[in-house]
């Protein structure tokens, strides 16, 4: 694991958040986990980081369906900030098994992968 081991979870499902956090903590010894319940909060944090020159999280687990700002909107806003997506691995993690969502994710070059819930520790390990 590299020095930058921050992982960011953006999901409005609190149970999923806590379960994933548990999983991550078990898998990795040293890890910073950032958690956001919707896109707008996450976006604010990203923006602040860019403004202050802080490093962005290495991995982002992004849900699609969220109130206020959903995953897609978050992504498009992020793209407008022109960040270096090669340094930020974005994975969609959704309970949606709708093909439209999967294809939409596939079409976006900045999305590394599409993971359907429930997320397994092996998959998490791979991502990290």
């Amino acid at each position: 694991m590299s020095q930058n081991s921050t992982i960011c979870i953006i999901d409005d499902d609190k149970i999923y958040q806590s379960l994933t956090k548990r999983m991550l903590l078990k898998l990795v010894d040293e890890i910073d986990i950032e958690q956001f319940l919707d896109g707008s909060d996450a976006f604010e944090s990203f923006r602040e980081k860019i403004a202050s020159g802080e490093q962005l999280p290495k991995v982002v687990l992004l849900d699609i369906n969220m109130p206020t700002m959903d995953g897609w909107e978050f992504l498009s806003k992020l793209e407008k900030l022109k960040i270096d997506f090669s340094e930020v691995d974005i994975h969609i993690v959704s309970s949606s098994i709708a093909i439209q969502d999967m294809e939409k994710a596939k079409a976006n070059v900045n999305i590394l992968g599409y993971i359907t819930k429930p997320i397994k520790p092996e998959i998490l390990k791979n991502i990290l």
């Binding site: 994933t20 999983m23 098994i97 429930p118 397994k120």
Partner: protein
């Protein structure tokens, strides 16, 4: 139609057509006459002069002859002095006496044997004594000539020995038939001239010259100082044989007579010139007239030629016919061809032989009118029959060949073979009637319209250069122009099917009320039609609605095309109006069911999405928890996970409950309806929410008219009101007192419910689609569940209505419910 010979005009032409030439010729003739007259006059005056001069000379001649005669007498008298011996006696005394008596004689001599011996007076003449005439050169010839003449002969004038010029008259004297000598007298020239009356000859314009042929030289010698070169001058001469003298009376200037003629010549010249000019002008006028006549003549003859050519080669039969006998006087080739009869036999024939109908009374009466001058000309269509019994339809035009007031003689007939025309017009009539029946009995509603008025009206607006979109906008903005143009359409005819379509029994009813119905048509269709005319299109297709006379609306497909030949003026346009109401309705139905299907499909998708998303999120959590539970080793962790599992099961239960609610709404196709007082229901809802209202300090205005009744499901109405009102309270703006108004409106007979707040509002641009979706929340409020509006929408739509929203962020929202009560 003969062509007149021109040659007989030649002489006249010379005089009249060439006044200049003729005038010049006249001038020369007059000049010639003048020349002869003047010449005559001149010679008469010359003759007169000559006579005058003759007279003058005669006097001189007489004088001289007198002198010479005297001289002779004196010589003879002197000779008397000679006696028998031949010696003169008393010579001196006789001579003195003679000289005294004849003062004109200067000297007398007696010259015996040619030697001058006796001279009186001797004084001054002594030198001559002893001169032998025969020995002296210049006297010898004359002396001998005297003897020859045997009469007095005058010698000289010559220079006298004693000096001076004089003539010497000598008479030979014979004694006893023997020459004795001469008796001579000498007259000085000056004396002679004086005596002859010549010395003081002083008539102006004339002079005298005396000449003599020199016997020695035979040349004429002149003796007077006057000019002697006068051969060409007017002169009169007398000859004196006694001395071979000539006396000339010469007119000094031979042209004096001419000078006297000058006035005459000048007057004549003036006369010639003026009469020539006068003649020229006199001739000019008729010449011009003549020229006009000649030109006219040429033109007439040209016209005649042309007429002849036209007559001969015309494609129409032309004949001149005698009005009484009705016999052909003149016919052309075409007529002969038409009637299949050679010209020669036609010319003997009577018109009636070629007329098919025997009853010609009508034609005859027309001819009679023509004859009486009631008609200028007339035309008639008649059936003719050719010699080979072929029937010919002919158009006959008859014009008189006489002028007004003249006696009717013959008439000219132009005969046009219209057999072919007649045939084709019959064909045309047939096809026209065939077309008519096609039109009339066509299974498609048809009409024939005159759109020329529309086109003219459109031209006035001058829109042709605009693109169709701009024309469209123009008419949208100027509906008066649109209807004025459309109203210029005139219906020419409609067929039965059209009447059926319009539910009318009368064509006139349709035609008269056409405009009324057009106005009801959609302007878009009318504008499209006008654009087609502006752009000069010859065909048009468009759909519109029409209203029948029963007030029924029908969908029609209108197609028209301009009848060929009328493309520029739109005077005839065929319009088919196909009834497509059923088709249209079917399409509408189809569209409706299509939309329903789409809607259903969409709901199904929504539902599957809800299932996949909302249910799967719970199940995936359960899976994760169970997975974790398997590897848990301490009790604390297990309790924690079981707590989470409890949470998941609770929210799953809620989700399933919500889903059940929605599916129950959807499944309920026939939900019961009952009349409900919407005001009371609203009031009831306000009461239910009173604690929340109090908490938020909101003001609620129930503006619904009491006793507003709608037919609706009570549970749904309660739910709808509760959801909308609680949302309005929930999403109040933190900076102001919430104010909510509830009111109804009636639109097209349907009641609409409005719930208006001054809350935070929703960004519809961003969330428009999702606002009524399940689990869509747009705020971070904990109590936003994203299910209320989803249920409301399902309830409203389940009752056949719809719900809409208008909103602006930070200002508020208005929810609008269309109830759609059944009629």
């Amino acid at each position: 139609m003969s062509i007149k010979n021109k040659s007989k005009y030649n002489l006249t032409n010379l005089i009249v057509l060439k006044p200049k030439v003729f005038s010049v010729i006249c001038f020369f003739i007059l000049s010639l006459i003048g020349f002869f007259i003047i010449k005559q006059q001149h010679s008469i005056s010359e003759e007169k002069e000559r006579l005058e001069m003759q007279k003058m000379l005669n006097v001189v001649q007489r004088n001289i002859e007198q002198i010479l005669q005297n001289s002779h007498t004196i010589t003879l008298s002197l000779a008397q002095t000679i006696d028998r011996t031949g010696t003169p006696q008393n010579f001196e005394a006789v001579a003195k006496r003679l000289l005294d008596n004849n003062k004109n004689i200067d000297i007398v001599q007696l010259v015996p044997n040619g030697v001058i011996k006796y001279i009186y007076p001797l004084k001054g003449n002594e030198e001559a004594i002893g001169l032998n005439l025969f020995n002296t050169k210049h006297t010898k010839d004359e002396a001998l000539k005297t003897i020859e003449r045997n009469d007095i002969y005058f010698a000289g004038p010559l220079e006298l020995v004693q000096g001076g010029k004089a003539i010497i008259g000598r008479t030979p004297i014979y004694r006893d038939r023997k020459f004795w000598g001469f008796s001579a007298i000498i007259i000085s020239l000056s004396n002679l001239l004086k005596e002859a009356g010549l010395s003081d000859f002083n008539i102006s314009g004339y002079f005298i010259q005396l000449s003599k042929i020199n016997p020695v030289t035979n040349k004429e010698e002149f003796f007077l100082d006057n000019p002697y070169n006068f051969d060409s001058s007017i002169k009169e001469t007398i000859k004196l044989p006694q001395g071979n003298w000539s006396i000339h009376l010469v007119k000094e200037k031979s042209n004096t007579a001419l000078i006297s003629l000058y006035p005459t010549i000048i007057l004549w010249v003036i006369f010639c010139i003026s009469s020539t000019i006068l003649l020229y002008f006199l001739l000019k006028k008729p010449s011009e007239l003549q020229q006009v006549i000649v030109n006219q003549d040429e033109r007439i003859s040209k016209n005649e030629k042309e007429l002849q050519v036209i007559f001969d080669n015309a494609a129409l039969g032309i004949a001149v016919i005698d009005i009484r006998s009705r016999v052909f006087i003149k016919v052309n080739q075409q007529l002969s061809k038409m009637l299949e009869c050679p010209i020669s036999s036609l010319l003997k024939a009577n018109v009636h032989e070629f007329i098919l109908e025997k009853d010609t009374s009508n034609f005859d009466s027309l001819l009679n009118d023509l004859r009486e001058g009631n008609l200028n000309k007339f035309s008639a269509t008649k059936k003719l029959i050719s010699k080979n019994k072929k029937i010919i339809w002919a158009n006959i035009t008859v014009s008189p060949m006489w002028h007004k007031g003249e006696n009717p003689s013959s008439y000219i007939t132009v005969i046009e073979d219209i057999t072919e025309k007649k045939k084709s017009s019959e064909l045309l009539q047939k096809s026209e009637s065939r077309f008519k029946s096609l039109f009339e009995d066509s299974p498609i509603p048809l009409s024939e319209e005159d759109m020329s008025g529309v086109q003219e009206e459109l031209k006035k607006l001058d829109l042709s250069k605009l693109p169709p979109t701009k024309i469209y906008r123009y008419f949208k903005e100027h509906p008066k122009d649109l209807y004025r143009c459309i109203n210029k359409t005139n219906i020419i005819d409609i067929n039965k099917e059209m009447m059926l379509l319009k539910d009318t029994n009368s064509k006139n009813e349709y035609i008269n009320n056409y405009k009324l119905f057009t106005l009801n048509r959609a302007p878009n269709y009318l504008i499209k039609k006008l654009i087609a005319i502006i752009k000069n299109q010859t065909s048009f297709v468009g759909e519109t609605k029409i209203q029948t006379f029963n007030g029924e609306e029908k969908d029609v497909l209108v197609k028209w095309y301009v009848v060929p030949g009328y493309e520029n003026n739109y005077k005839r346009v065929f319009v088919s109006t196909e009834n497509i109401t059923e088709r249209k309705n079917a399409v509408r139905e189809l569209k409706k069911s299509h939309n329903t299907l789409i809607e259903r499909n969409k709901r199904l998708l929504d539902f599957s999405y809800i299932i996949s998303h909302n249910l799967r999120s719970h199940t995936s959590n359960i899976q994760t928890i169970i997975d974790n539970l398997e590897y848990v080793d301490n009790e604390e962790e297990r309790t924690e996970l079981l707590g989470l599992l409890k949470q998941v099961s609770d929210s799953l239960d809620e989700t399933i409950h919500n889903l059940n609610e929605i599916t129950s709404i959807r499944a309920n196709v026939n939900i019961s309806r009952e009349p409900l007082d919407i005001y009371s229901y609203t009031q009831k809802t306000i009461n239910i929410l009173s604690s929340k209202i109090d908490k938020s300090n909101a003001i609620i205005h129930n503006k619904i008219e009491p006793d507003t009744i709608i037919l609706y499901n009570p549970a749904y109405l309660e739910s709808i009101l509760l959801n909308l009102l609680s949302n309005a309270i929930k999403y109040a703006h933190s900076e102001r007192q919430p104010e909510i108004s509830i009111y109804t409106r009636t639109f097209k007979g349907n009641l609409q419910l409005f719930v208006k707040d001054n809350g935070i509002g929703i960004d519809l641009e961003k969330h428009g689609e999702k606002i009524f979706g399940m689990y869509k929340t747009f705020t971070k409020r904990d109590d936003s569940r994203g299910i209320g509006l989803f249920i409301t929408k399902n309830q409203v739509e389940g009752m056949g209505g719809k719900i809409e929203v208008k909103s602006s962020i930070n200002e508020g929202s208005i929810f609008k419910v269309f109830f759609n009560e059944p009629k």
